[in-house]
């Protein structure tokens, strides 16, 4: 560690100390220079081993010396027999233990130990595990040790149930243990998987087939085990409601479902001869093999994201060659292929219709996978009951409040809207240092609710005014929206993602604090923008609007920019299509 401790002492003691340190330094420097010089000369001898050992025992973070030491050891492997190598590496492990005592968090030491253990002809994994136990008993959050333990478990084939017992012991002795809960979360799905045919519980360690790894295996746990886990973790947070680790584990247990990956919407417009495609997650059109087929013919088109800023975007647009679909008397059939998956979506553009789209209905789509959506309703309700009980005992506990909000959203986002808003209010009071986070999170949930209401009503108007919105999100869900009302909120910007509102005709955003309009960019149908009482201050702020060809009406009253001299003529030049300008 590189710091120094101040100790008051007499001048003489100071002088003595100084002389001692000077001597120490001389020895150190001599050894270091000798090491460097030997390495330069390509020398891999015993003396080199001794010198590096000397330096590393007091300075185990000196990474270059570990590199040199490994070079020497690898050389020795080629000239010594197996027994000698075994002895050398066992001595190395012994040396490493002393290094770890000096600094149990030295990257160099742990890495070297892992390297040695992997090369040892006859490793003693039981001893390595016991070293980990000892280390963790001194500091149960030493991630170096946890990583090393995971490596040992993997190399030696320790059965998953034994490791689960290990976490039982750790958690039993101290509930506050992120690392143990986290480790548990990786072990449970292996031992008690959710899949319909769980592997038969086996007493022998895995033999020929490699043990399922968290990467290849589902992360879900079977119900029987889950219920036991709920009990375990409830004990933890009822015992100490202020300990975060149990709450986070609880949220993990309740589960977050993976949203199905698909093309969520295809929209086509004759006016712009343009196709817009929305995906369930941001993609890069080039790498997913996006293919447009029109009336059975693959089309050569260039896909672009809604804003040059985004290489990855949930929404991609392409222009069809002029004249392809402009004749309203013609019917067309489009298919968009996500060839990488593979999946596709069809869209029919009928005679007499100017535009068309295709997407799943709101009930099919399950638009917002709640944080806790996997569990059955009955389980979620019972968990909500428990949390509500705790909340009565601990009304100021923020973890409990937040978890209740998440449970309510999983059960019935629209039905619990009032309670959710009330709880957020309480949260901002009890945890005021994070009130901005809660405001943003609440904004997100209110946007989700508004989208749900819009979906159920099957309209293309999105209205969310006077809801204390501090941020925008889920803009990819608003591809089809023609009218948006964001007025009387606390928004500061319409970010580049706003450009996903490709069908937007009217934008109402009065009474906010908007300074940036980056996202009002190439919106082909946008005709009216209402920005009264915001914070638009320079002409540059309005630059993106110049890319909207149909913009006719612009209300900028109550913005600082209206104070700029000759603003009217500047705007006439920047936005020639605007016929109605309110300043």
């Amino acid at each position: 560690m590189h710091g120094r401790v101040k100790i008051k002492s007499t001048a003489q003691q100071e002088e003595e100390k100084r002389k001692e340190r000077e001597k120490k330094l001389k020895i150190y420097v001599a050894a270091r220079d000798a090491c460097f010089s030997k390495r330069k000369d390509g020398v891999w001898d015993d003396e080199a081993l001794q010198l590096t050992q000397q330096l590393l025992s007091s300075n185990p973070d000196f990474a270059t010396l570990w590199n040199y030491r490994r070079e020497i050891l690898m050389h020795l492997e080629t000239v010594k027999d197996e027994d000698e190598v075994q002895k050398i590496y066992e001595a190395e492990l012994f040396f490493l233990e002393s290094c770890l005592k000096v600094n149990p968090k030295s990257y160099g030491s742990w890495h070297h130990r892992g390297w040695v253990s992997a090369r040892l002809p006859r490793p003693d994994w039981a001893r390595e595990l016991s070293l980990c136990d000892r280390c963790l008993s001194l500091d149960d959050r030493n991630f170096h040790c946890w990583d090393y333990r995971r490596m040992v478990v993997k190399m030696s084939g320790v059965p998953v149930d034994k490791e689960l017992e290990f976490t039982d012991r750790l958690i039993g002795s101290n509930f506050s243990n992120y690392s143990s809960w986290h480790y548990r979360s990786t072990l449970l799905p292996l031992l008690h998987p959710e899949s319909p045919e769980p592997p038969s519980p086996s007493r022998e360690p895995p033999q020929s087939s490699p043990p399922p790894s968290p990467q290849t295996h589902s992360h879900r746990v079977c119900e029987e085990q889950l219920l036991k886990e709920y009990e375990l973790v409830q004990n933890a947070f009822f015992t100490d409601p202020n300990d975060q680790s149990a709450w986070f584990y609880y949220r993990w247990l309740l589960g977050r479902a993976e949203r199905e990956e698909m093309i969520s919407c295809v929209y086509v417009s004759r006016d712009e001869e343009r196709v817009a495609v929305a995906f369930s997650r941001p993609v890069n059109a080039q790498s997913v093999g996006l293919l447009l087929v029109l009336d059975g013919q693959p089309q050569r088109v260039e896909w672009r994201s809604v804003h040059p800023r985004f290489k990855h975007s949930p929404v991609w647009i392409c222009d069809l060659p002029p004249g392809t679909i402009s004749d309203i008397t013609n019917e067309h059939n489009l298919t968009v292929h996500w060839t990488e998956k593979p999946t596709h979506r069809d869209c029919a553009l009928y005679t007499g219709r100017n535009e068309s789209w295709c997407r799943d209905s709101a009930t099919d789509q399950e638009l917002f996978r709640s944080e806790l959506s996997v569990e059955k309703t009955s389980v979620l309700q019972s968990e909500l009951q428990s949390c509500n009980q705790l909340q009565e005992l601990e009304p100021l506990n923020k973890w409990c409040l937040l978890t209740i909000i998440l449970l309510m959203r999983a059960l019935d986002p629209l039905g619990y809207e009032k309670e959710t808003l009330a709880h957020f209010q309480t949260l901002k009071e009890v945890d005021s240092m994070r009130s901005a986070y809660y405001s943003d999170l609440c904004s997100k949930f209110m946007i989700e609710n508004t989208i749900l209401k819009m979906e159920y009503a099957e309209v293309r108007v999105f209205s969310i005014s006077d809801k204390n919105l501090t941020t925008l999100c889920h803009l990819d869900q608003l591809l089809l929206v023609t009218h948006i009302n964001l007025s009387s909120n606390q928004l500061q910007r319409l970010p580049p993602q706003f450009a996903m509102l490709q069908c937007l005709e009217v934008l109402e955003a009065d009474n906010n604090s908007i300074e940036s309009l980056e996202g009002v960019y190439h919106l082909p149908k946008l005709e009216e923008i209402l920005l009264r009482n915001n914070k638009i201050s320079t002409l540059a702020d309005l630059q993106p609007l110049a890319s909207c060809p149909k913009l006719k009406r612009l209300d900028l009253r109550g913005n600082p920019i209206t104070q700029t001299s000759s603003i009217e003529s500047q705007l006439a030049e920047l936005l020639p299509s605007v016929t109605e300008l309110l300043l």
């Binding site: 590189h2 000077e22 330094l25 460097f36 270059t64 506050s176 300990d243």
Partner: protein
């Protein structure tokens, strides 16, 4: 038990203003302590140490007090054949110190001091994204070399490195 709370009670007679000059003096003098034991032992992270010191001096508008030419020569001497840069002369190249070196050169606007084409190879990691940005990669967002974070993120959270002086 729970998570440990390590609050400290600040006494009423504790200084209430940040003693910037003292901090600046300390850092300006730090590099000259070549006969200091801890200084020598921490040689394995020298490049990062230099970066940390320079950043703070920059925030205090006292960067000119540091020896620019000497530091740049030091960086040049630390670039290896493979393109990577080491913490100090004679040490092995490493991603951590390559990044620190790039950050320093960005502060000093002297990226040409090293062989840029060669150095880019160590950067194929997320950690190296900041370095790539500072090296002028057009596909990557501009990164602030002092805070080592994307500029637009800093703007969004209204966090500009305020000069302390």
């Amino acid at each position: 038990q729970g998570t440990q709370v390590k609050d400290v009670i600040i006494k009423p007679d504790a200084p209430s203003s940040l003693l910037l000059d003292k901090h600046a003096d300390y850092i300006a003098a730090y590099g000259s302590k070549k006969d200091d034991y801890e200084y020598t032992l921490s040689e394995y992270l020298r490049m990062s140490g230099i970066y940390w010191g320079l950043t703070v001096m920059d925030l205090m508008s006292q960067l000119p007090r540091m020896n620019r030419a000497e530091i740049i020569d030091f960086i040049k001497a630390c670039q290896h054949e493979c393109g990577g840069i080491s913490a100090s002369i004679g040490h092995d190249p490493h991603l951590l110190y390559t990044l620190s070196a790039v950050q320093i050169l960005s502060l000093y606007d002297n990226m040409d001091a090293i062989n840029i084409d060669k150095v880019v190879d160590p950067f194929h990691t997320l950690f190296g994204i900041a370095g790539l940005s500072l090296l002028g990669d057009e596909q990557i967002k501009p990164v602030n070399p002092v805070l080592c974070m994307p500029e637009d993120v800093l703007q969004r959270v209204s966090l500009q490195p305020d000069l302390l002086s």
